[in-house]
């Protein structure tokens, strides 16, 4: 309920600005300055969700990032954000939120009826059921578990809000704008050029918000300093090497205007980082400590002072430390009756005026149906392990607990420092900090003058079921019972324990549970806490929407789209495009009403019988210049190179150092010291990198340069028996006769008025000229060819037809049969391995493994059932597995009228003539092993 203005005089809500919102379908009112959590508490909404596993009613337990219970789905439609903590949601007019993990609502949850199901899910349930002998069980349980577990739903519609990224550099970055952060920032502003301050709250002040005096003037002073920038609503989610801090800024209420960013991801480089991240209070672990109405004492104080909200009328405070005095003072000031303070320590200096302090007492259990109505307490034995008989019940609707404080040091998890256990304040503090990172305030373990604490990791359990109601991790429903079971099963390493019990693995990453779990484990296995170590906190500190990480790099902006230089001409020819090797390439060119298969078949036949044109501009092109160019090629290619005459070209294989084929292409000699190398499309970049690596790191004495020119030259290939006739019709200043321009030669001149290089080389198995012209003239050449070849039957063909044409010829394709595990000999290209010279990969070709007779070898397959063989299918001889059908090599050959494919099978060449079986999911085929060259083995169609 809301507290009168005079009892919370420094509250940060604006009572003149009421805000309406909807939670679980009901309408409520709060004030500007509220969070969703404070507004719900002000409206006495105590149950805000159901627990993950057991579907127990849960209420708000914290006030910030530590909140483990109050997860809501925020918004509606495409802008829905699941699993947001109600404590971190700024209340805005018209806000709509729903509780998660509940159906139909948090108050009435049908899942709770089957709460027994949770009893079947003790520690290690997932491991035992799904990773042990019964691992098939997942299929049976999955649907049930997923429905029972359900944690919000991502929206299905596209979120059309904008998410942006920004970069910033500063001398000093202060994370946290509480009193310590503000003090550090003011000091830095005096001596540094640029200071950046981040805070996840809507306003600066941290723990001082709603309190008198402590930060008066500090914020104004910072805001007026010209060298200081303050970013509110901004959470630092990770601190990485070299002081890279990644932060997410929520842009507040601008959902109405989609032109504005919803969130910004900041990448900040800071010379120095100051962590003023404060500390998070620990809960206490007792029977029923998950009941709504049990909350962190500091959170109840914050609600009272900052938001003017009373979380109850009558409170019992439970503590093991002196910090509770401050919370008690706040609650009392707000008019909340404090029935008693239960202090687990036998003696303490705690003595607030007029409040009964029950020293050496503990909580037996919290009682209440859907929220706290009373607490049962009893004196503890001096060691705290058992209760003494004199139990007592106290009426209350709020149990405000403090189990001590944990400095917030999650950002140190990525290398900026470590943490060590400090027994004197019973928490982990920073250790071994990077020299450019500092920790100040509560984060540095400064928990107040004379702060004293004595750990009470858990209260004694009374009754057999009690340990299963003593919750450690509220979100994942991990109890003392689970932890004790895991310890009995010998899970002693903290990292194992965490994964086995799922403790600390929820959205809050154990902010309120990890240290308690360590303390309880340390007692259970009787090892000092400091010796247990901790699990490493990993980014992000709080959950981040994928949209914020993606930013604007989605949809069309995800990756640049490369179009071929003759793209417009292809469009004009009706091309169907697909991305291949990083380019948008024509797959085929269907005529009106023509099926894809018919189009591909027509294109193949045109190339075999007349003439076709294909855009090979994506092929990599590299100019090699220098007196040592021939030496370079000799070392790069496995075949001999030095003897190539000017004007001639040669096909070559490049191997990696382990002897595997990694690229191929035709390279032509333009002059004594100048070559034009072509590579595969996908290899265009990697081959140049490869050459540079060797030239810079190994062969620095070679006088040669390699210059990529792929994008400079279009390459339109004219292929087919009529290719020469067609090319001759374009105004041409070169002799195309076979004598003057033989296969594997290059000529420079002009074609159709354009400067051109023509390379006679063939991938299709037909007479073929690759005509290279400056990229900007590609459309012009394309149109000229189409015009000149009309009566010859010129047919544009795409990638699909090319795949068939090459399969019929058994020409290798890098990335398919040359998949990085095949040598030249495996591919039937042993003749391209020089015995006279050294080259990259040579030594590896004589490794014993490369000489095995059962190596995979490239062969042809011919279907004996007249069915297209499955690409990727497994090839068998009887019961022995021989290899596989090369993907994308399988087709019904239009000229042969048979179904053919290429395959890599063990000792394949010796099996030519034998019968095999090919299987794929749902099909079985009979096939014969044949030569991989199905068509024109003597190359008579090329050499014309």
């Amino acid at each position: 309920m809301r507290i009168a203005a005079d009892q919370a005089p420094f509250a940060r809500i604006d009572r003149s600005r009421p805000v309406r919102f909807v939670f679980d379908g009901r309408s409520y009112e709060g004030f500007a300055g509220d969070t969703l959590a404070s507004a719900l508490l002000a409206n006495d909404v105590r149950v805000v969700g159901r627990s993950f596993k057991l579907h127990r009613a849960r209420g708000i337990m914290g006030q910030g990032a530590e909140e483990a219970n109050a997860l809501v789905t925020l918004g509606e439609g495409a802008a829905t954000e699941p699993n947001v903590r109600a404590t971190m949601i700024e209340l805005t007019d018209g806000l709509v939120a729903r509780s998660v993990n509940t159906w139909p609502s948090a108050r009435v949850d049908l899942g709770a009826v089957v709460g027994w199901f949770g009893l079947l899910l003790p520690a290690g349930f997932y491991y035992k059921t799904f990773m042990g002998p019964g691992q098939g069980a997942w299929h049976i349980y999955e649907r049930f578990i997923r429905r029972a577990a359900g944690l919000g739903h991502a929206p299905r519609a596209t979120d059309d809000r904008r998410y942006d990224k920004r970069h910033a550099h500063c001398d000093v970055l202060v994370v946290g704008a509480g009193p310590a952060g503000l003090t550090a920032a003011i000091a830095a502003a005096d001596t540094c050029n640029s200071v950046l301050v981040l805070d996840e709250q809507t306003e600066a002040g941290g723990s001082a918000l709603g309190m008198p005096d402590r930060i008066v003037g500090m914020v104004d002073r910072l805001r007026s300093a010209p060298n200081v920038r303050v970013l509110m609503r901004t959470t630092a989610i990770g601190l990485y090497e070299q002081n890279l801090v990644v932060a997410v800024e929520r842009m507040g209420d601008n959902t109405a205007d989609i032109r504005l960013s919803a969130q910004r991801l900041w990448k900040i480089r800071a010379e120095r980082v100051v962590l003023a991240t404060g500390a998070i209070e620990r809960p206490l672990v007792f029977d029923g400590n998950d009941l709504p109405g049990v909350m962190l004492a500091s959170a109840s104080a914050t609600y009272a002072m900052r938001y003017a909200v009373a979380c109850g009328r009558r409170a019992v405070l439970v503590t093991n430390n002196d910090g509770i005095a401050k919370s008690a003072e706040s609650l009392r000031m707000a008019g909340i009756e404090i029935a008693a303070i239960v202090d687990t320590r036998p003696s303490s200096a705690l003595a607030p005026d007029g409040i009964e302090v029950l020293r050496g007492h503990g909580v037996v259990r919290a009682r209440g149906r859907s929220s706290v109505t009373e607490v049962e307490i009893a004196p503890l034995t001096p060691d705290g392990k058992q209760f003494l008989p004199r139990r007592r019940r106290i009426d209350c609707d709020l149990i405000a607990v403090s189990g001590g404080w944990n400095p917030t040091l999650h950002l140190l998890g990525n290398g900026a420092g470590r943490t060590r256990y400090a027994p004197e304040i019973a928490c982990f503090i920073a250790d071994d900090l990077s020299p450019t990172v500092a920790v100040v305030g509560a984060a540095a373990g400064e928990l107040g003058e004379g702060y004293s604490v004595r750990p009470a990791w858990r209260m004694p359990a009374v009754g057999r079921g009690a340990p299963w109601r003593q919750f450690i991790d509220l979100h994942n429903d991990v109890t003392v019972g689970d932890l004790a079971l895991a310890a009995r099963e010998n899970y002693r390493s903290v990292e194992h324990l965490k994964r086995y019990t799922t403790m600390g693995m929820a959205h809050d990453q154990g902010k309120t549970s990890s240290v308690n779990a360590l303390g309880i484990l340390s007692e259970a296995i009787d090892r000092p806490l400091a010796a247990l170590g901790t699990t490493r906190a990993r980014p992000p500190y709080t959950p981040v929407a994928f949209a914020a990480v993606a930013g604007r790099q989605i949809g069309a902006l995800y990756a640049p789209k490369r179009e071929l230089p003759a793209h417009v001409a292809h469009l004009g020819c009706g091309a169907v495009f697909a991305e291949s090797g990083g380019w948008m390439r024509p797959m085929h060119y269907p005529l009106a009403g023509e099926s894809t298969a018919d189009a591909i078949r027509r294109e193949v036949l045109a190339v075999r019988n007349a003439v076709g044109i294909v855009d090979n501009s994506a092929l990599g092109k590299v100019e090699i210049h220098g007196p040592d160019a021939a030496i370079l090629l000799d070392r790069l290619y496995s075949n001999d190179w030095g003897s190539l005459a000017v004007g001639r070209a040669r096909y070559g294989l490049m191997l990696t150092e382990d002897g595997m084929v990694f690229d191929d292409g035709v390279t032509a000699r333009l002059s004594d010291t100048h070559y034009l190398m072509t590579t595969t499309s996908a290899g265009a970049g990697t081959v140049v990198d490869w050459i540079e690596l060797w030239l810079q790191r190994a062969w620095r004495d070679l006088r040669v340069f390699a210059t990529p020119v792929t994008h400079h030259w279009a390459d339109l290939t004219i292929a087919g028996p009529r290719a020469r006739d067609l090319l001759g019709r374009l105004s041409l200043d070169m002799d195309l006769s076979p004598e003057a321009f033989p296969h594997l030669a290059i000529r420079e001149g002009t074609v159709a008025g354009l400067p051109a290089r023509i390379l006679r080389a063939s991938f299709t198995g037909e007479l073929s000229f690759e005509v290279m012209v400056p990229a900007r003239s590609a459309d012009q050449l394309y149109n000229a060819v189409m015009e000149a070849g009309r009566d010859l039957g010129i047919t544009p063909f795409g990638v699909d037809a090319t795949l068939i044409l090459r399969a019929e010829k058994g020409h290798i394709l890098i990335g398919l049969e040359a998949d990085g595990t095949t040598t030249p000999d495996d591919l039937g290209l042993g003749r391209l391995v020089s015995r006279k010279k050294d080259f990259i990969g040579r030594r590896s070709l004589t490794l014993a493994d490369r000489l095995r007779p059962d190596r995979p070898q490239l062969v042809g397959l011919q279907s004996d059932d007249d069915r297209v063989l499955p690409g990727g299918g497994v090839v068998w001889s009887g019961d022995s597995k021989l290899g596989h059908v090369v993907p994308m090599s399988s087709c019904r050959s239009p000229v042969l009228g048979r179904c053919i494919a290429l395959a890599l099978i063990a000792g394949g060449r010796d099996r030519i003539g034998s019968a095999v079986t090919v299987t794929a999911i749902g099909s079985q085929h009979r096939a014969s092993v044949v030569s991989p060259v199905f068509l024109d083995p003597k190359n008579g169609r090329i050499y014309v």
Binding site: G415, D658, D689, L693, Q696, L847
Partner: protein, 87 residues
């Protein structure tokens, strides 16, 4: 993400670079090496925890290679140099 010092361009973001792993200290003569020694030199690396020397190329910048010493546990960077001075 690291900021790496390109010897030619100065400090640049890691996304501009390509790493080629540690500078191999094994040198074998392929003509005489046994299969085992050759495979070892090709495939095996020390994979040290701590400072080691590794190759980087300013792939999306000047395309030049250099080596640098980096602590594999902390990402702390130390000396660097041009090819030819790596061993």
């Amino acid at each position: 993400m690291l900021i790496l010092p390109c010897p030619w361009c100065g400090p640049r973001e890691e996304t501009e670079f390509a790493c080629d792993g540690e500078v191999s200290s094994v040198s074998v003569d392929p003509a005489t090496a046994s299969d085992g020694a050759w495979a070892d030199a090709l495939h095996n690396r020390t994979n040290r925890k701590g400072m080691h020397r590794e190759w980087w190329c300013h792939r999306r910048g000047c395309r030049q290679w250099f080596w640098i010493e980096r602590d594999t546990a902390t990402n702390q960077l130390r000396n660097s140099g041009l090819p030819g001075t790596e061993s």
